[in-house]
Symmetry: C2
Subunit: 310 residues, 2 copies
C-alpha cells in the first residue's frame, strides 16, 4: 500500500466496530502505549474526563494500579517492549486488562484483546487504535462518526492547502512548532510526531494557555525565530478567550501563527479532521525532502541494538 493510501484509509478506519469490553466498575483508566500507538491514549485523555486517565509511556506503572483500574495496552505490533512490560506489571496488580493490537505477544498474554487489521504503519492506524476504546466507552455515536468520515473525504479531495504549508516549511528549511488549544494538545503532539517520522525533521508542540506563561517570553526576541514555522490548531468554533490569546500573542511577539482549523460540530470531528490535515502536511514535506515517509529504519535499528547484550 502506498503511504498516501494509508493516510486516506483513516476515513474507512472509523467504520471499524470491534470494541473493548468495559467492566461495570472501575475508578481510573491507565493507558500504556508508545509513539504512534500511544497517541490513542493521549487523545482519550483530552476527550474523556469522567474518570482520571493516566498515560504510561515507559516500562513502569503507577503504584495505584489495582483491581479497580481499567488498564488498556495499545501496541500496533503487539511487541513493544515498554508496553509489554507495563502490561505484565498491571496483571500482577489484578487490573482489568484490555488490549488493542494486531497480534504479537500482547495478544497472547491478554485474553481480552481487540485485534485490528495488519499492514499499516502503526501511526497510520490511529483510527483502528482509537475506535475500539471510544466506542467501547460510549464516547461517540454513529452520527458523529459519520459526520467525521464525510469531513475526511472532503479533505482528501482538496489537499492543496496542505501542499502549500509543506512548501513553505521546505523552502525555508523551517522547524515546525505546533501550538494546541484546550482539547487539542494531543493533536498538536500527533503533528509533531508525524513531522518527525514522516518528514524526518525535528518538530515540537506545546499548548495555549500554558505557552503564554513561558514560550511567550522567548518568542519575542529569541535568536533563530525565523527558522521556525508556527502552527496553531483550533477547533471550528473557538472560545472567544482563546481567540484573543492567539491574536495578542501574535501581535506582542511579532510572530506569524499559521492557523489550521478543525472541522465539524464535535470534539471528535475536530480531533480527527486535524489529525488528517497534519498527516497530509508531513507527507508532502517528506515528498519535497525526497525522504520515504514509511522508512523508520533508525527506530528499528535502535530496537535491535537495545536487545543486544552488553
Amino acid at each position: 500500500m502506498e503511504y498516501i493510501e494509508e493516510i486516506r484509509s483513516l476515513e474507512r478506519q472509523l467504520s471499524f466496530r470491534k470494541v473493548i469490553e468495559i467492566p461495570d466498575h472501575f475508578d481510573n483508566i491507565v493507558v500504556a502505549g508508545m509513539g504512534g500507538s500511544g497517541i490513542a491514549g493521549m487523545i482519550l485523555r483530552d476527550f474523556y474526563t469522567e474518570k482520571p486517565v493516566i498515560l504510561v509511556n515507559s516500562y513502569g506503572i503507577p503504584d495505584f494500579v489495582d483491581s479497580k483500574t481499567l488498564f488498556i495496552a495499545i501496541s500496533y505490533s503487539g511487541n513493544t517492549e515498554e508496553t509489554l512490560e507495563a502490561t505484565r506489571r498491571a496483571m500482577e496488580k489484578g487490573a482489568h486488562i484490555r488490549a488493542v493490537t494486531t497480534g504479537g505477544r500482547l495478544a497472547e498474554v491478554v485474553d481480552e484483546s481487540v485485534i485490528i487489521p495488519e499492514g499499516y504503519q502503526p501511526r497510520s492506524a490511529v483510527g483502528f487504535l482509537t475506535i475500539p476504546i471510544f466506542m467501547g466507552l460510549g464516547l461517540v455515536d454513529e452520527s458523529e462518526v459519520e459526520e467525521t468520515r464525510k469531513l475526511l473525504r472532503g479533505s482528501d479531495l482538496s489537499v492543496d492547502p496542505f501542499r502549500k504549508f509543506a512548501g513553505e516549511i521546505f523552502d525555508g528549511e523551517k522547524i515546525p512548532v505546533i501550538f494546541g488549544t484546550p482539547g487539542l494538545g494531543s493533536v498538536a503532539y500527533r503533528w509533531k510526531t508525524q513531522f518527525n517520522e514522516n518528514a524526518k525533521v525535528l518538530a515540537y508542540s506545546t499548548s495555549f494557555p500554558e505557552l503564554n506563561h513561558n514560550d511567550t517570553m522567548a518568542l519575542e526576541n529569541t535568536y533563530r525565530k525565523d527558522e521556525f514555522y508556527f502552527f496553531v490548531l483550533t477547533p471550528k468554533s473557538v472560545e472567544k478567550e482563546i481567540n484573543k490569546r492567539i491574536r495578542i500573542t501574535s501581535e506582542l511577539c511579532r510572530v506569524v501563527l499559521n492557523r489550521v482549523e478543525g472541522e465539524g460540530s464535535t470534539l471528535f470531528s475536530n480531533i480527527f479532521s486535524l489529525i488528517h490535515k497534519g498527516d497530509y502536511i508531513s507527507y508532502f514535506l517528506a515528498q519535497k525532502r525526497g525522504v520515504d515517509p514509511r522508512n523508520v529504519k533508525i527506530i528499528e535499528k535502535l530496537k535491535v541494538e537495545l536487545k543486544k547484550q552488553d
Copy 2:
C-alpha cells in the same frame, strides 16, 4: 534581591515547613497551576503514584472532580486567572480544596491556604511551592531534605560547568532541547521554561524512552540539526536500559547528547539538584545575551491585553 540570589535561595526554601492538610480519604489529586507555579504539580506527578494525579493548566476541570478529589491550587501571585477559575469550578463540585500561594484572590477564596513568602519571581519559588505539598503528603523526610540542601550548597560553590554550557549555547546561538529520563520529565520541562523566561530563547523538552519512537527518526538527518543543543538529564544512578538507550541514540543519530546528572541518593535530591543546575545555565545564558532574567514584560502585557474588552 538580585536574580542570582533567588536561585541560591532554593536551598533555604527547602527548610520551609508549613504544609497543606491532607484529608483522611481521597481518590485522586488534581493540581491546578500555570507556568512557574504549575511546575510543582508536574514534579508531584513524576514523584507520587499512589493515587492518580491529574494536572489542570487551563480554565476547565475534569468531570470526575467530586468530594473525593483533593484539589490543590498553586499560584504564586494568587491572581492567576486560569487557576482561579479552575478552583471556583472545583469548589462547586465539593472537592477538598487546598492552595499554595503568597496571597491574592486565591487566599481569599480558599480557607485552607498555605501562605508562602513574597518577593520572588514565581519560578524562583519552586521550593516554597513544592515543600508544603511534598511534606503534607509525607513524601520526603527531613534527612532527604537535608541531603538535598547540602548538594545545592555544593552546586552554588562550583558554577563553572553551568557557565560553560551557557557559553556553548550562546556561541552557537543554539536552541536548547532537553531530554528527560523516567521520573525526570518534569525537570526537563522546567529547564525548557527557564530557558524561555530567563534567557528569552526558544527551548523544547521531551523524554526517553518515548522520544525513541519519534524524535529519533528526525535526529539523524533533519536540517538545522547543528542549531540545536541537546541535553539529557539523568539521575545519579541510571537504569542500565536507559543508559543503553542514550548511548545508542547518540551513536545511531550521530548527535552529541550533553549529559547532566542529578545528585544524591533519592529521586527528590536528583530532581532538585537538576532544577538548580538548569536555573544556573539559563541564568548565565541570559547574562551572555545581555537580557534581564527577571523581565517578563511580555507576559504581563499579555495579561493586561486579555482583560481589555473587545
